[in-house]
């Protein structure tokens, strides 16, 4: 440990002088469609107050053009997928001859739903992600086939349901019946996985704002999901992102929809309590 002090003090001055906060999150405000001001940074929720002062949306860590694309629905390619989901919403399917609209009327009735998921479902006695709830309606209320968890049709629908909550604060419950799942998610967040022995926290808690190779590290928040990535030009699911990040630590990943990822999603969502729902957002 003496060694470390020596090394760090030797280079300390140099680091400070050489990087004038080049990679800090920008100081910018996201106003959606020139009307809705979004909360992209806010005081950390109580459960994080020992760790972080502020929580920040991934939007703040992206480039000027990417940020601008997300500010206007006409420029946001994610909204094309939302429109596709509107057609699906009205499509009658399954043995019950019903569409989502048969029971839920318009998608607007889903305002506020994204903000509180994953959440406890009393009847089923389980923590449900939005994807799980949608598939439950398809299987058990429509008599239709489940959609693939990270597939296009599912993520389009998740994007539609998210889009009507944009601007509302993420507010997932972490106590009561979900507490043990939340604890499990927290443990996963701090586990140093894989041959590179890196936890989510190593990158997204200890190093947000820093560059790791070509990437500007954010806090790894999920308030913007599903995200449209310029890299693969489609909507990306929360669990697909988790999978990618774990794979990059040279680890054996978990599967989308697995118990582990449901727990991790609940925990990561709770780290963004207070940020606005942004999905579908734009990332590189």
């Amino acid at each position: 440990m003496i060694k470390k002090t020596r090394a760090l003090s030797a280079i300390g001055a140099l680091v400070l002088a050489a990087t004038p906060a080049l990679a800090d999150p920008v100081d910018a405000t996201l106003i959606l469609n020139e009307e809705t001001e979004m909360v992209t940074r806010t005081a950390a929720p109580d459960h994080l107050s020992d760790t972080l002062d502020e929580v920040m949306s991934g939007w703040l860590f992206r480039g000027t053009e990417t940020r601008a694309m997300q500010a206007d629905d006409f420029d946001n390619p994610g909204m094309i997928f939302v429109e596709q989901a509107m057609d699906t919403w009205d499509t009658v399917e399954g043995t019950e001859d019903k569409s989502c609209a048969s029971c839920h009327e318009s998608p607007d009735t889903m305002a506020g739903v994204r903000a509180v998921y994953p959440k406890w479902n009393e009847a089923a006695g389980e923590v449900r992600t939005l994807e799980m709830q949608i598939n439950d309606c398809r299987e058990n209320r429509m008599g239709a086939e489940k959609w693939k968890y990270t597939g296009g049709t599912m993520q389009n629908m998740v994007a539609l349901i998210s889009s009507v909550s944009r601007g509302l604060p993420v507010n997932v419950a972490i106590d009561g019946p979900v507490q043990s799942t939340w604890e499990k998610g927290k443990e996963l967040y701090y586990t140093r996985n894989g041959q590179l022995e890196l936890s989510c926290a190593n990158c997204h808690e200890d190093n947000y704002g820093n560059m790791i190779r070509a990437d500007h590290l954010s806090q790894g928040q999920i308030n913007g999901f599903p995200v449209y990535r310029l890299k693969n030009t489609k909507l990306n699911a929360v669990h697909a992102r988790f999978k990618g990040c774990i794979r990059d630590t040279r680890a054996e990943t978990y599967s989308p929809g697995s118990e582990e990822f449901i727990a991790l999603e609940l925990y990561v969502a709770s780290r963004g309590n207070g940020l606005s729902v942004e999905g579908p957002s734009i990332r590189n």
Binding site: N193, D206, M211, I212, R250
Partner: protein, 157 residues
Amino acid sequence: MRKSILAAMALALSAGGSAAGEIAPSQVKFEDGAVATSLTGVPGDAAEGRKIVGSKKLGNCVACHVVSEQAEVPFQGEIGPPLDGAGDRWSEAELRGIVANAKMMFEGSMMPSFYKTEGFIRPGKAYTGKAADDTFGPLLTAQQIENVVAYLGTLKE
């Protein structure tokens, strides 16, 4: 004569996963985070080490460190301190210890352990996301570690 040496080498390879005369990852002796003995007995090749440090496919050290001397390598990271002057700050034995297993020098370090094969949680098969199989080995070979150490020794200010 020649034949029997080859046979002995083949045996060593299949048994310990490392070549004859090499110190296997689990046998490396750390003292205050440093490793005094060469892992191979063969002097490190600094030019090879330079490539390993800058290459995404090999050490990928630049993912986390700036190495100003390798200005041609784009996107150098800033997770760890710049490696400029590492050869002034650290002895060869210390550098060997840091590169082989930085966690012995810096407790809990985020820097990966490049010469280690045991004690991982859910180790994968490279970047496939699948479980590790019998091709699993250290991130760098013993000689690659020596090459990197030789290169770091040249980084003086």
